[in-house]
Symmetry: C2
Subunit: 102 residues, 2 copies
Amino acid sequence: MTESCCAPLSDATLSDDEAVLLAGWLKALADPVRLRLVNIVATSGEACACDFPAALGKSQPTISHHLSQLVKAGILDREQRGKWAWFRLNNDRLKEVTAALS
Amino acid sequence: MTESCCAPLSDATLSDDEAVLLAGWLKALADPVRLRLVNIVATSGEACACDFPAALGKSQPTISHHLSQLVKAGILDREQRGKWAWFRLNNDRLKEVTAALS
DNA sequence: CAAACGTATTGACAACCATCGATGCATGTC
DNA sequence: GACATGCATCGATGGTTGTCAATACGTTTG
């Protein structure tokens, strides 16, 4: 009947809502394509979307889909310059993620 | 034809294989139930599986499934004590994850 | 050994996701 | 204005995932 076998657990320091939020950020990062996108943007300072399909060997719609997920999660910032879309890393969000895992 | 519009990108510092590996670890963490499991284990030092279904409001098979994913990803270590299963945090793996995101 | 109990596994199902071709929308160019 | 170009959206599809009831497995206890 799932009865406790031991001393009670410490109180959890992570609420349900916080867990959902953090899981969302981690889910945005938990894909090889998106990790490589983040890595390229981070090491380049900024990058425009036009380079990604060739760099990662994925179709343009696929790249666009991944980029929008990263922007939605607040991990990348998007800026439109003429007809090109440029991306930068949001370091604050990334620090927020690593801080929650420490 | 998706032609480059700008200076070439910096060389990526994350290989495809590394990205797949890191994505696997992040995927193991990217779920609210699993994050709360990790949090409980981390704050308690160690915990036995018998407490989790009540603490998280999930069925025993569901908890067992999540725990096995965390163990498989090397985030939790499992130890059998009689008929109870005890879990501890693998801090090295967690540090490896946060280091890769910094 | 037999019964009880904690946990893992199986099977099933709905929800979600990564991917791509086709198409639409906006911006810049002639 | 007409055309070309970069990117987003749509529709479809195959694969993955979270969940639980039922069941099997292993350990302890009587």
